[in-house]
Structures are given as C-alpha cells and as structure tokens.
C-alpha cells in the first residue's frame, strides 16, 4: 500500500500564527506542565533565533527574551486542528491516519487522479498552503519510510519507489528513530552510529544479541521493511467545532475573530466530505454561567466560510447578551451533498456569494417561509394552483457548455390557454360582492371599494368545479368584469350559495 506522510514542523506554532496573524514574527512558545515545571514544548522561529530551545523552562526562556509570549499546549486543541486539516485532505485521498501532534498519513492509492504521486504531493501541499500551513510530504510503501523522510528529509516533496526504501533512508540521522524507542537510539549512538544506513549495514543477529527485539525492529525499519498497518482514523458523525476564548469577549470583534477560526475549520471539514451546510447552531457559552443559541439558516446550502461568516456577523450584530462570551461551539445541524458550481469566463464568484448572502440574511430576518419560489400544481382550484418551494434557481450554463446544448436565450413558450386568463393579483380570501343583476340575470353593477360601480363589459363565464369527493367541494362561474372607474376584475358566482365574490384583479 502506498502512503503519503505530511509533516507540519512545529504544528502548534503554525496553528497559533494562523489563528492570530498579529503574532507573526514575534517570539512565542508553547509550554506544558511537567513535574511541576512549565517547560517549553515548541518555539517560534523568532524565539529559536533568540536562543530559546524546547525543553527549557519558561522562566529560562523569559530570562532570555523579555517579550516572550507563551501559550499552554493542549493536545486536544492541536488534534482538533489537525483533524480539520486532514478532513479537508479527503478531497484528494480516500482515508487518513493521524500521527499527533504534527503529522498524518494519507492513503495514496488515488494518486492516479492527481497525475501520479508527485501530483498528489503537490496537491496536498497546495491544500495545506491554502489553509496557511507549511508542510513536507513523502510517499513510500512503508509508513515508517514515508514518515522519516517527511520529517528528516531535505526535500519538500519526494516519492520513493517500492523496494527503494533502504537506499532513501540511509542518509537520515538516528533521530528519525526516536519515536520508535528512545533507549535503542541512545544505545546505537553510544556505539558511534549516526545514520540509519549504518544501522542497516549491521548484521541483524548482532543487534538481536545486544538489544533484543527492539534492535531487530530498528534494523528492519532501517532496511525499509515496516509491517505496521494503515488504520484510517474514523470520521466523527457530528460536525462540530468549539473554541474557548483567551478571555471573555464583551464586544463583537473578538467574537468574530474566534468565529472565523471555527468556521474555517468547519468549512474545511465540510469541503472534504463534499457536504454543504443548510442549518447551523451557534452556541455561545457565557461567563460565568448561561448560554445562548443562535441558528444560522442558509437559503442555499453552502460550505464557504466567507458566506457563513457574513451571515453570522449579521445574526450576532443585533444580539444583546447579559454576560461576556467565554466560548463558542458551532454545530452543523443539517447538511446535504455539495454539487459545487462552475464559473464561466468573466464571472466572479462574488456574484454567487452575493446571492447566497442576501438570501441567508433575508431568511434569517424574515423567516424561512417568507422567501419562496412558486411551482405550478395540477389543481383546478385557483387559490391552490401553486405551491411554495424553496428558492433554488437553476445554474445558468454558460460558454461552450451552453453552446453545445443550445441553451442560449430562450423564447417565451406560449402560455397555456387557461393560465392566460388568470389575474396578476388574487386576494388571500375571496371578498363578498354586492351585485345588481338585470332581469336576464346578467351583471349590471356592484359595490366595490366603497363605491357603486357600473359594469362596462363582461367576459365569461368560465366554470371551474371539482373536489366533489372532498369536504369542501367548489363549483364556481368565473367572470372577467370591467367596472366603471376600476380595471378588470375577476369575480365568481359560487354555486353553493349563489353569491358573487371578488377573487382577484387584472392589475
């Protein structure tokens, strides 16, 4: 099985810089509590340049650099960020296996879709770069070979052909074995060995005799033989991202800042799964107690962080909370497949984004049922002849596709004969009409809008009846009547009670 390993050097530092760009170029470190001491776990380039090294105590680091900023290393946070990135990489690979805290393996079996394994490496690095992460990649047939080359190799991306692992590994330092067995590495160093190639050239029986099973394992790894199995990391069913603020937020700005981080991660996970969010729940945890939930409803499914952030901005702009916000959680409550969209030459994605943002904004403020597109129903009862459905305008095919399918500007299809007789306005409920009839039963006048109006012209009747099987059947004679001082109106005589009703207007 071919595997691609991605190594992110000083991953916590990179993540912190991405989430807080103002820290770029400044000395920062991550510390963890070890036996009562706060020891430096990872340091930024600026801190390393100043002489700070991992393993130092924080006091020693602060003594070296007075402006040193420190953050507490939290493995769960780093794992969540790595998981988000790994899920986005599912765009190019069918599965991944995390190698916390700073790497992951990808199943490279789909490399053919990316123009080979070099293309896969390139594509993976591009995706990481789009999220702001710097990485090194290596493809090999063994998990150890790929990992060691990505972590300690000199190239940004390299592909090792099957059975060439030993040759590729021979120049790597013994530090590549540290995660396997630290004591074995120390023993090898004490023998004066410095590279994996030197270890591979030793007789395996001698290593077995001196170091036992660990020596044999190390020897096999150095010869490019690794039996470890690729175990894909299971994907969580619930798409949820959380973040705790460094200090409780009392204004919108820090909240939006945190929200952007969470949305970037969540949208990356959605993209990787080819899903688009329809409804999201934003839970704001207040300090010291209490929480508020805000629903983000999308009129068009989307997995774009920019659109969701615009929507969230709009929703929380009017929010008044009793306490400051300590943490936030964003959960995708409803999602669907994301078909994506194709832009044509000259189009800008902002146009589509503008539509989605305004639809989301309107549906949030006015309610989902206030926005709809009408669909004609095969029903004769006039007020039930259409149904509201969600507004999903079809994608306009442009360019060569449209040309090939001949879907240029279309000419209006001829309207159905029945449709052509319908008014542009229909009252929600037919209004009762007081009419005067002549001796022959024809309409002469009616009281409309507070005035007595003569009938100038009449067209009809058009009999519409049906649903005799239902509780409320209908049987109506419709007339198009032109009243004096008023335009054409659509009235009907209900056969059930013999009364006239105003149904609509040809406005």
């Amino acid at each position: 099985m071919r595997l691609l390993y991605l190594h992110f050097e000083r991953f916590p530092i990179q993540r912190q810089m991405i989430e807080a760009p103002t820290l770029a170029g400044k000395p920062i470190v991550f510390v963890q509590q070890i036996r009562g001491e706060r020891k430096i776990f990872a340091a930024s380039s600026a801190a390393l340049t100043s002489g700070i090294r991992p393993g130092m105590t924080l006091s020693a680091g602060t003594a070296l650099v007075g402006t040193l900023r420190h953050f507490t290393y939290c493995p769960e946070t780093e794992r969540a960020a790595l998981m988000s990135l790994a899920e986005q990489l599912l765009l190019i690979a069918p599965a991944f296996q995390l190698s916390s805290p700073d790497g992951l393996w990808l199943d490279a079996s789909a490399a053919g879709l990316c123009q080979g394994e070099e293309g896969l490496c390139r594509r993976a690095l591009e995706i990481c770069s789009s999220r702001g992460y710097r990485a090194r990649a290596a493809v090999a047939s063994e998990a150890f070979t790929a990992r060691a080359l990505a972590r300690h190799g000199r190239k940004t991306a390299q592909v090792i052909l099957p059975r060439n692992g030993a040759r590729a590994l021979e120049a790597l330092p013994l530090a590549a074995l540290e995660h396997i067995d630290g004591s074995a590495v120390a023993a090898l160093r004490s023998l004066g060995l410095t590279t994996l190639g030197e270890v591979a050239s030793l007789p395996p029986a001698a290593l077995l005799a001196r170091m036992g099973a660990a020596g044999l394992l190390v020897h096999r790894l150095c010869r490019g033989a690794d039996d470890s199995v690729f175990v894909p990391t299971p994907l969580p069913e619930v798409l949820e991202e959380s973040i705790e603020l460094d200090w409780p937020a009392e204004s919108h700005e820090p909240l939006l800042f945190a929200l952007k981080t969470v949305l970037d991660r969540l949208c990356a996970r959605l993209c990787g799964r080819r899903r688009a969010a329809i409804r999201l729940a934003l839970t704001l945890k207040l300090d010291p107690t209490g929480q508020v939930q805000v629903w983000l409803v999308l009129a068009r499914p989307s997995a774009r962080a920019k659109i969701l952030l615009e929507l969230a901005k709009h929703r929380i702009a009017d929010l008044t909370l009793p306490n400051p916000i300590a943490a936030l959680t964003l959960t995708v409550a409803q999602s669907c497949d994301d078909p994506g969209s194709q832009l044509a030459l000259g189009d800008v994605p902002e146009g589509d984004a503008g539509l989605e943002v305004v639809l989301s904004r309107l549906s949030s403020v006015l309610g989902e049922d206030a926005l709809f597109a009408a669909e004609l129903e095969p029903v004769h009862r006039p007020e039930a002849a259409y149904a509201a459905k969600s507004f999903r305008p079809p994608e306009a095919k442009k360019g060569i596709l449209a040309e090939a399918e001949g879907c240029q500007v279309r000419i209006t299809p001829q309207a159905d004969e029945v449709l052509a007789q319908r008014p542009s306005r229909v009252l929600e409920r037919p209004a009762s009409l007081k009419v005067e009839l002549d001796l022959e039963g024809d309409l002469r006048s009616a009281r409309l809008l507070g005035k007595h109006r003569k009938v100038l012209a009449v067209s009809g009747p058009e009999r519409v009846c049906g649903e005799w099987w239902a509780e409320v059947p209908y049987n109506r004679d419709y007339y198009r009547v032109f009243f004096d001082g008023f335009g054409p109106a659509w009235i009907f005589r209900d056969a059930r009670d013999g009364q006239f009703y105003l149904q609509g207007m040809f406005d």
């Binding site: 146009g351 206030a370 360019g399 500007v409 279309r410 000419i411 449709l419 100038l456 335009g487």
Partner: protein
Amino acid sequence: MDAAHARQNQVERLRQEIRKLHAAPRRYLAALRTGIRLLDELLPAQGLPLGKVLELWGEAASGKTTLALRAMAGATQENRLGAYVDGPGELYPLAAAALGVELSRLLIVRPKAPGKLVWTAVQLARSGAFSCIALDLTHTGVRLSLAECKKLSEAASRGGCCLLVLTPPEAPGDGMIRLEVSAFGVENVRVEVQRSRQGGAGAQAIIPWDSLYPRDPPRFRYLHGVGSTGFSEDDPKFAERRPQRLKLSWPRDCGGIARSRPGRDVALPELGSSLGL
C-alpha cells in the same frame, strides 16, 4: 522561439481581453426591455434603465403589476434572476407564468411586517444578484419617505438592477422615474411618463391588453352602450381623450438585457464550431 513568442503574445492579448471584461462598468449602460414595444419606446433608454428606480403609479387593476411582470419575464428568460417583494401578498404566480416569467428564477418575498418591505428591497437590490426587482406597496399602507426613496435609488445604482416600485395613488414616491399606469377603456392600458430626469416626460402610450396577455384575449360583451375603448362613441370628449400612439420603430423582440450592454453582456464568439461541437 517564434512559436513560443507568438503564444506568449496570444496569452497576453487574452489577458488584456479578460481585464477589459472585468473592468467594463456595469451601471447606466443598458436597459431591461419588457418585450412590449410601446412601453420600451417610452423611455430614452429604450427600455427600463438598469441601476434606476422606476415607480409604477396607478389605481388598483390599472395594469401596473402586469407591466412589472413583463419586465420580470424579460430578465428571467435570459437566465437572470428576478425578485418580487409582495407587500400585500396578492401576487398570483399563474399569471406570472402566463406572462413568460420563469418561476424557478423568480424569488417571491412576503415579509409579514410592512416596515420590512423597503429594507427587503434594498437588501435584494444591493446584492447585485437580481436583474429586476419589484417592490409592491399597494394595499400595504406604506408611504415611502424621501430617505427611503434615496436608499432605494442608491441600492439600485449599486446593484445595477432595475427596481420597480408599485405604488397606489394615495402614496406616491419621490425622486424616481414615475410612470402613471391607468386603464384606458376596456381593452387598453395607458402608460404616461410623469417624471423623468433622463427625458421623455409627458410621453404616453396606449398598450392593448392583448399584447400583455398575447394568447386568447377575452371576448367581452359590452354593456351600457360603450364600445371597445370603454367610452361611448358619441361622447364628444372621446376624440380629445385618446392619445396618439407612438411611431413604431423598435424591432420586436422578447425583451431582456442581452445584446444591449457593452462589456460583460456582449456575446462571446462561438467556440463550439471550432471545437467540433
């Protein structure tokens, strides 16, 4: 070397073309044609100007909704989007379909609060995603303030769309092109340009209902001695009241914006034939 140089030149030329396409201004360059020749000829833009607000002002059942829907049809038939902010909740989509509106491209918004009508129209217009937006204020009791009219104008200008405001006689708007729509007899609609800074004020047209609903016009039975115009033929004022029809010079088409806007909307040369499609 020459081939590489020629290819580079070609790429650079294409880049410049793309830059031109992106840089082409989108405002004030085109009009949305309704497909009703008499109506399109009324305004100097030969249609409803994009980036502007037009007020369709008239009594109930005067025909203003039908005119707005014809404009909407012109937009949706070209795969553009239209939006109808339905204040009274009376729009009948069947009529819209009969007038040529593609319903899947027509967003109908029915805000429950009348106070949100203008806000909704402003949001839709500002987004730039819709080519034609109608704001129906009849039977809502809403009267546009001057500030709201300015907001609508600014939004239409920013979004480059044609914003139609349907107002009743008792609540006219301010600062926008006003077309007065009224029923003229039984079978005609009269449209008069009451106010327009772009010119054309005072022009009017008589549009037969048949041309709005082209298929199977109703066969009226006339009562009280009136003719098809709705006026008694022996009425001496009839001749005075009948406006002159405009000269018909604009070629009849199905409306829309395409082929009227330089820059983005100019049709690209066909590529299919060269690719053997």
